[in-house]
Symmetry: C2
Subunit: 189 residues, 2 copies
Amino acid sequence: MAQPAPRRRDAAATREALLQAARHLLAERGATQTTTRDIAAEVGVNQALINRYFGSKESLFVEAVRGGGASVSELIATSPIEHLPEGILREVLDASASGRGSSALLAGVVNNDTITEIIREMVEDTFTRGLGDRLGGDDAGLRAELLNALVVGIAVMREKIGSQALRAADFDDLAKYVRRMAVPLLADD
Amino acid sequence: MAQPAPRRRDAAATREALLQAARHLLAERGATQTTTRDIAAEVGVNQALINRYFGSKESLFVEAVRGGGASVSELIATSPIEHLPEGILREVLDASASGRGSSALLAGVVNNDTITEIIREMVEDTFTRGLGDRLGGDDAGLRAELLNALVVGIAVMREKIGSQALRAADFDDLAKYVRRMAVPLLADD
DNA sequence: GAGCTAAGTCAACAGCTGATTACATAGACC
DNA sequence: GGTCTATGTAATCAGCTGTTGACTTAGCTC
């Protein structure tokens, strides 16, 4: 991967590189199928550094997951509500394609109690409360979580299972249907 | 299937019990976090029987996954289209709650190439073609896969992540919103 | 350039996992 | 009752995994 700092020894840069590799492999394979040796190899360092810098493999994953999801959260706070379905879809699919960790993508991958709990908290902050408060009306939290579930389902079926039509569709087509499905959620009646 | 006499030695019954335990643990923990010893312990037999009856752990999982999904497929073929969103949702959530393997639930759990490929084929048969043909119109396959994605996303967020509002909602509330979201998919304009 | 500290490597560990082999026995058949 | 085979167990193997501690070395300070 790209090594921005040309310095041979740079603890901060190495730490960050390990986090990025962890996010990438976590999204691609999941926690249990990613070994510390895999992560270290992607960065080009020795696996022992993971324990030196993070204490354990799980702590590395926890920190890697905590770093994700911020962009969706910001989008929900700032974007006009009618643009949210398309915006969230784009953000999640982009995060998935570029290998960045996203709570939505990880949802389909993780089977670790600690990481699952972190994702649950992030979803609650971002959707149940964050989007729910903006939506208002009956079942605001439920409606917000349903929008999240739709986008998560699309990401999982595209990236993990490889559903044909979902993969073949270009983004605008996909966004068109997502907008239509989301309309009943955005209305607060 | 009929469970005959409580014989102490019954290869067919033992084989079936191993398949059931495999489906249960596969849905609960995923493939990599389920060991042959776990599966055998749930049945109460020695782990060596897995290799005797199925050749390998992976072959057991493949056979276990192939057995699931039939009920959704039948539903799609026989139920009136307007009842499908609620029906599929119920079927997937029931399968998830009872620990039966369902392609939708497994989608959130599996990180094994062979199993993923089987699920992809099942989704294609059941939704892309099965439901797509019934829907007709533009993007029929895509619209069918989007309904699947919605239900999969709901199942994953409920069972794997534990999203609060999705778990707290009773089925009728959930079904109400799913129906509303699915309306734009069922129409063929 | 000598010395020190942080950054990184190396080798080995203990535990777990899937698989294999040799062995034990229930239960049908004669 | 004796025998034979399918059914099941126990012990073990080889490979992988996360973690650890001892060692090496780059690069700054004086």
